[in-house]
C-alpha cells in the first residue's frame, strides 16, 4: 500500500517516469515536459534520480544494474559505519552501503505516509562486482539533453561530497540534481575507508 501511495505522489510531483524499463524504451526526445524547446538531434542522457538528505542526486543508468526493494540485510560487525551489511540478491551476496552515512549527509525528515522500513536499493555495477546503495524514496527515471548537465560546477563548496565524485550538475525545471560518478566512488579510495 505504502509503495503505491508513494508512487502516485511522485508521478504527480515530478516530470519523470516510474518504470525504468519503459523509460529506457521510450524515444529520447519524448516526454520531457520540463525541457525547453531544443534541437531534435541533441544527445540525451538517462539518469536514475534519488534523494539523499534534502537534495536530489542521480546516477547514469549505465551504472545501475537494477532497482529493488531492499532485501533483508545481515549486519556485519566491525565494518565502516556506512556499510549496512550484506544481502542476498538472487544468489549473489553483495555489500549494501548508505551514501548519506558515507558523506555525512543529514537525513531529511521522512515524508508522511512513507514506511520507514521500506527502502530501495540501487544495484550498481562496478568493475567485476556489484554493490547496493540504499535510498529512502523510490528512485525515478529521467531523460534529459546532455547540455543540461553542467560539467564544471563551481558552487559546490556546501556539498559534503568530494568534487572528484561529482560528474556534473543537472538542471531541470526548478530542480538541481547532483550527478554522481559511482565508479569513482567505488574505487580504491573508498576501500581504504575500510579497516583491514
Amino acid at each position: 500500500m505504502a509503495k503505491q501511495t508513494q508512487t502516485a505522489d511522485k508521478t504527480a510531483e515530478k516530470p519523470a517516469e516510474n518504470d525504468k524499463a519503459a523509460a529506457m524504451d521510450a524515444p529520447a526526445a519524448e516526454g520531457k515536459k520540463a525541457a525547453e524547446p531544443q534541437p531534435v538531434k541533441e544527445e540525451m542522457v538517462h539518469l536514475i534520480v534519488f534523494k539523499l538528505g534534502a537534495e536530489y542526486y542521480a546516477i547514469k543508468i549505465e551504472q545501475v544494474k537494477e532497482v529493488n526493494i531492499t532485501p533483508a540485510t545481515t549486519r556485519m560487525p566491525r565494518t565502516p559505519h556506512f556499510v549496512k551489511g550484506v544481502a542476498n540478491i538472487r544468489g549473489d551476496i553483495i555489500a549494501i552501503i548508505d551514501l548519506e552515512d558515507r558523506f555525512n549527509i543529514r537525513p531529511a525528515p521522512l515524508l508522511d505516509g512513507l514506511n520507514p522500513d521500506l527502502t530501495y536499493t540501487l544495484v550498481i555495477e562496478a568493475k567485476g562486482y556489484s554493490i547496493g546503495v540504499t535510498v529512502k524514496e523510490m528512485p525515478q527515471s529521467l531523460n534529459l539533453p546532455i547540455s543540461k548537465i553542467d560539467k564544471a560546477p563551481s558552487f559546490l563548496q556546501d556539498v559534503n561530497i568530494s568534487e572528484n565524485f561529482i560528474e556534473g550538475l543537472a538542471r531541470t525545471g526548478d530542480r538541481l540534481i547532483i550527478v554522481l560518478d559511482m565508479h569513482k566512488i567505488l574505487t580504491q579510495d573508498e576501500v581504504r575507508e575500510l579497516p583491514g
Binding site: 533483508a72 545481515t74 549486519r75 556485519m76 560487525p77 566491525r78 565494518t79 556499510v83 550484506v86 544481502a87 542476498n88 544468489g91 549473489d92 551476496i93 553483495i94 555489500a95 562496478a126 567485476g128 562486482y129 556489484s130 554493490i131 567505488l186 573508498e190 576501500v191 575500510l194 579497516p195 583491514g196
Partner: protein, 550 residues
C-alpha cells in the same frame, strides 16, 4: 575436440615429467649406493623409454640427451665408467636439462642445450673421462629452482574451479528447497528433494574427487632438492617419504608448494647439524628428515620432522623481548607452545646467517599466511637436541568445509571445524575475571575466554573484555578455537549444528575486511558470516592490548 596429436603430446609430457621426477629420486639413491643394481636398471629403463617416446613423437633434442645419458648409465652398469663426483655432476646436469626440455615443450620456446654440457656428456659417453681431460664446469642455467606440479589432470584447473563453484551454488539452492519442502509438508516434494539431496552430494564428491592429485607429485621432487641443499651445506641427510599416495586438492597442493620448500630448506640448513656436530652429540652422522602425509575424512595432515638440534627456546624468548613482542617478565612464564608461536610473527627469524638456500628474508610467517589462506592449521613441536616437527593440517577441498553454526546478537556465524577444538557449556561462576580478560579452567588448562558479542558489537572505546557482568544468562556456550598454538574460548549466544557449508568469498569491497573468511547461505535463505579464526584471534589480541593502554 582434442586432436589425436594434442592428446599424444599431453600424454607424452605427463609421462616424461613423471620419469623426470623418478630419475631425480633414483639418482639421489644411486649417489649413496652406487652399486645398487636395481636402481641402475630402473634408471636405465626410464631413460630408455624417454628416448623411444621422444623419438616417436619427434622431440629429437630430448631423445638425443636421453640417449647420451642412457649410454652413460649402461657404461656405469657394466663398470666401464666410475660413478665419480665429476661424473655425477654431469649426470645431474644432464637430467636437469631433460627436465627443462620437457617443460619447454609447452611454452613453445626453443631451449638451446648448453654446448658445454653436451660436450661433457660426450666425454663421459666416449669413456675419455680419465684425469687428462678436465670436464668443463657448466654454467648453472637454473640458479633458483622453481617447482611446478605435473599436470596429470588433463583438464584446466580453472574449469574444475568453475565446476566446483557451480556445485556450491547448487548445494545452497538444494538446502533451500529441502527447507521449503519441510515447511510445506508435501510428501511428493519431500521425496524429490531428498533425492535431489543425494544426487548433489554425489556430484559434490565427484567434482572434489576430480580435483584430487597424489601428494607424491610434490613429495617426489624433494629427494633431489634435499640432496642439492645438503651438498651445498655440507650435510648428510637421509630423506624418508611417507604417504605419497594420499590425495589432496590440486590447488591446495599448489599453494603448499612454496611453503613446503621453505620448511625443507630450513630443516636442512638450520635444523640439522653437520656430521661432525652430530657425532659429537652421539647421533648418527646422517641427519634424518621425514616428510609424511596422512588423511582422515576431512583433512590431510602433512608433517615434516627432523632429528636436528631443535629450536633454541631461550633465543626465541630473547628475540621476542628485543622486538617488544612481550615483556621480559611475561616471557619467563610462557609455555613452550607459546614461545614457539613467536616464530610465526612477521619477519621473526632466529637464523644468524643467511645461507644460499635458507633465509632469503622469508620467514615462517609467510608459510603461516599461505596455510591460513586455505583455512588450514600450522603447528610446531620442538625439543632441544632432539629435533623439530612442523605439522600442517589442510582441508581436502577449498570450497566445501565442515563448520559449526552459531548465533550472536541475532546474526548467524560459522566457524570452520578445522579451527574448533571443542564445544562446552560453563556456568558463569566458572569464568574468572583475570586482569582484562576472562579465564576458564578446562581440565587444568587455563583458557582465555572472550564474549563474542562484546568483541564484535560493543563500541571499541567502551569494550570491556574482562567484565563478566556483560554476559547474558547463567550458562555460557563456549566454542574453543585454536590458532597458532593458542586456544581461545568464544562465548556465543546460541549454538546450532555442525554442517557442511559452501563458503563464498566476500564480495568487493568487503573482501578487504579480514575478520570474515566469506559468507554462506543457509537453507532458510539467510546469510551466514564465516568468521576467520586467525583474524578474530588477532583482533582480540589487539583489543586486549588497547584496553591495557587505557
Amino acid at each position: 575436440m582434442k586432436s589425436r596429436e594434442q592428446e599424444y603430446k599431453e600424454i607424452f609430457i605427463a609421462e616424461a615429467l613423471e620419469y623426470f621426477d623418478a630419475l631425480n629420486r633414483h639418482i639421489s639413491t644411486l649417489e649413496k649406493q652406487p652399486d645398487d643394481e636395481q636402481t641402475l636398471a630402473e634408471i636405465f629403463r626410464l631413460l630408455h623409454n624417454m628416448k623411444a617416446n621422444s623419438k616417436a613423437i619427434g622431440y629429437l633434442q630430448i631423445s638425443d640427451v636421453s640417449h647420451k645419458l642412457e649410454t652413460a648409465f649402461s657404461l656405469i652398469r657394466n663398470k666401464e665408467l666410475a660413478f665419480s663426483d665429476e661424473v655425477v655432476t654431469v649426470l645431474f646436469d644432464g637430467i636437469d636439462l631433460l627436465g627443462e626440455l620437457i617443460t619447454n615443450i609447452d611454452s613453445n620456446q626453443e631451449a638451446e642445450p648448453d654446448p658445454v654440457l653436451l660436450r661433457n656428456l660426450d666425454i663421459i659417453v666416449e669413456n675419455l673421462s680419465d684425469s687428462a681431460i678436465e670436464l668443463a664446469k657448466v654454467q648453472k642455467y637454473n640458479t633458483s629452482k622453481n617447482l611446478s606440479l605435473s599436470d596429470l589432470v588433463y583438464i584446466q584447473i580453472k574449469k574444475l574451479d568453475h565446476l566446483m563453484n557451480l556445485v556450491g551454488e547448487l548445494m545452497i539452492d538444494r538446502d533451500r528447497i529441502l527447507s521449503i519442502s519441510k515447511d510445506m509438508g508435501n510428501e511428493e516434494l519431500k521425496t524429490v528433494s531428498s533425492h535431489l539431496y543425494r544426487i548433489t552430494e554425489d556430484l559434490q564428491y565427484s567434482v572434489m574427487d576430480a580435483r584430487l592429485v597424489n601428494i607424491g607429485s610434490l613429495f617426489n621432487k624433494f629427494p633431489r632438492i634435499v640432496r642439492d641443499i645438503a651438498a651445498a651445506e655440507k650435510k648428510e641427510v637421509d630423506l624418508e617419504l611417507i604417504g605419497q599416495d594420499i590425495q589432496i586438492d590440486r590447488n591446495i597442493l599448489q599453494i603448499m608448494t612454496d611453503s613446503l620448500l621453505h620448511l625443507v630448506r630450513n630443516a636442512v640448513t638450520h635444523g640439522l647439524e653437520t656430521p661432525a656436530e652430530r657425532e659429537k652429540k652421539e647421533k648418527p652422522r646422517m641427519g634424518h628428515l621425514t616428510l609424511s602425509a596422512k588423511s582422515d575424512r576431512e583433512n590431510v595432515l602433512i608433517e615434516l620432522a627432523d632429528d636436528g638440534k631443535g629450536m633454541d627456546f631461550k633465543l626465541i624468548k630473547r628475540t621476542a623481548v628485543e622486538r617488544h613482542l612481550i615483556t621480559a617478565d611475561a616471557a619467563e612464564g610462557l609455555t613452550e607452545a607459546e614461545v614457539l608461536s613467536f616464530l610465526f610473527e612477521p619477519g621473526f627469524s632466529t637464523a644468524k646467517e643467511v645461507t644460499e638456500f635458507s633465509g632469503r628474508g622469508v620467514g615462517l610467517d609467510v608459510v603461516k599466511n599461505a596455510i591460513d589462506s586455505i583455512g588450514g592449521r600450522l603447528m610446531v613441536k620442538s625439543e632441544k637436541g632432539k629435533g623439530t616437527t612442523f605439522s600442517m593440517q589442510l582441508p581436502t577441498s577449498i570450497a566445501v568445509k565442515g563448520a559449526l553454526l552459531f548465533e550472536v546478537d541475532e546474526i548467524f556465524y560459522a566457524i570452520p571445524l578445522i579451527h574448533t577444538e571443542q564445544v562446552i557449556a560453563l556456568d558463569k561462576d566458572e569464568l574468572h575475571e583475570v586482569g582484562d580478560v576472562m579465564i576458564a579452567d578446562l581440565k587444568g588448562e587455563a583458557i582465555t575466554v572472550v564474549y563474542l558479542h562484546e568483541l564484535l558489537n560493543t563500541d571499541e572505546h567502551q569494550m570491556r573484555l574482562g567484565d563478566k557482568s556483560r554476559l547474558k544468562g547463567q550458562v555460557q556456550n563456549i566454542v574453543v578455537v585454536s590458532y597458532n598454538n593458542r586456544k581461545i574460548g568464544l562465548i556465543v549466544d546460541k549454538l546450532y549444528r555442525q554442517q557442511d557449508i559452501v563458503v563464498k568469498p566476500m564480495s568487493k569491497p568487503l573482501d578487504r575486511i579480514d575478520l570474515y573468511g566469506g559468507v554462506t547461505l543457509l537453507g532458510t535463505g539467510k546469510v551466514c558470516l564465516v568468521l576467520d579464526v586467525p583474524a578474530t584471534t588477532r583482533y582480540f589480541m589487539n583489543r586486549r592490548q588497547a584496553q591495557e593502554h587505557v
